[in-house]
Symmetry: C2
Subunit: 235 residues, 2 copies
């Protein structure tokens, strides 16, 4: 049975890395398990080692062990044998290119489909959707495809930001960008605000955290759903 | 001799479309010429016809005629014979995919290299650079390549935004995104603020408008250049 926690962001303002999720994560991963960390999104260009150390330090607070996927000689096997997986945020283009080039997309999809607990934050959440076409990231590298894991039947836009009515900036708002996406794609998009996450248990998908989320469908006015709402009919 | 005007944005806050550039454009295009408009970036999903009409109305204010590239039966010929070209803003992924699928990237590069006046705004400016890897747009479609026209020896980040010190949002700042770009690319990036443009005349490239621009190089602290500064050594 699928067991995923898909978070908009790893970090809330004025908090330490993953702090707001730690209580959840203690429940989420089995007691004493070692979590496999996928560091390939490299936020700000941080090295795989440094990023893994950052995640390790946070997981140590709840007595979980964590090891970076790049440290394993056989990475497919590492994914197949993982007791839990966490894909950190950063650049989605880089993450997707790396997963494809190492042949890890399919093994990752299979492991999570078969029930390995999966935590994603930001880019790690993006790739759980059908495509990465609703990422906010800059296309700094060219991946062989924009198709991602498809572990949920829609896309997520993490770090969702409401339009700022006082802004004089002419760059597109997030809502405009998602409307452009729907000119060419027939996939629902969940705008997930920072502090929100989706809990996926088998076929059930629930909005968690204290904020509402914004749902975008083609040819339909966007609407809000409240914490606790089910998204299992969204497809 | 190359003759380009590469603008960060088409529109300034509280102004009409292209208004702040109209005086420049009157000088830029030859008297009475017909300008070829490339509408493929489709901001907000606007149709090619509606987008062309919007540009036509603005150009009419300075007595220039304008026709949409999509209206020509032979688009390669239309580019080769154009008296002037304008590529409007919108989604860079869509613009680049469309130019590649219609076989127009090379003819466009040749025409502008040979001196056809070229105006770009936003996405239309992005494609003048070496790659589209510093666009701000959402990857709503998958282009066959991120390589673009290479009419200037660097990349542009249009709608450049300085970090907001009061923001509590955890999404990456523009500067962080460009730093991530430089982990994998050795190309200078010009952060072009709204209201700024680059004037390209042969080998000379000059920053125009009233604002400074921000220059990003690999392994170097970003720095500002002032209006009137030459960028011809930037490569």
């Amino acid at each position: 049975m699928k067991n995923m926690l898909l978070a908009s962001t790893s970090t809330l303002h004025d908090q330490a890395y993953l702090d707001y999720l730690l209580l959840e994560l203690k429940e989420f991963y089995s007691v004493g398990s070692q979590v496999l960390f996928i560091p390939y999104a490299r936020p700000g260009g941080i090295s795989h080692d440094d990023y893994t150390e950052k995640a390790r330090a946070a997981f140590a607070k709840i007595n979980l062990d964590l090891k970076g996927l790049h440290q394993f000689p056989n990475q497919v096997e590492a994914i197949q044998q993982a007791q839990g997986i966490f894909t950190g945020g950063g650049n989605t283009f880089l993450l997707v290119r790396t997963l494809y080039s190492l042949g890890l997309m399919q093994p990752l999809k299979e492991a999570v489909s078969q029930g390995t607990p999966y935590l994603g934050t930001s880019a790690g959440t993006n790739i759980a959707g059908l495509t990465m076409k609703t990422t906010n990231d800059m296309p700094i590298v060219y991946p062989p495809s924009f198709n991602t894991l498809g572990l949920i039947p829609f896309n997520i836009n993490p770090h969702y930001l409401d339009p700022d009515p006082s802004s004089t900036h002419q760059g597109e708002t997030r809502e405009t960008r998602i409307r452009e996406f729907h000119q060419f794609n027939n996939i629902p998009v969940v705008g997930l605000r920072e502090g929100s996450w989706l809990a996926v248990k088998g076929k059930e998908i629930t909005l968690m955290g204290s904020l509402s989320a914004r749902i975008f469908l083609p040819d339909t006015a966007p609407y809000e759903i409240e914490p606790g709402a089910s998204l299992k009919e969204l497809k």
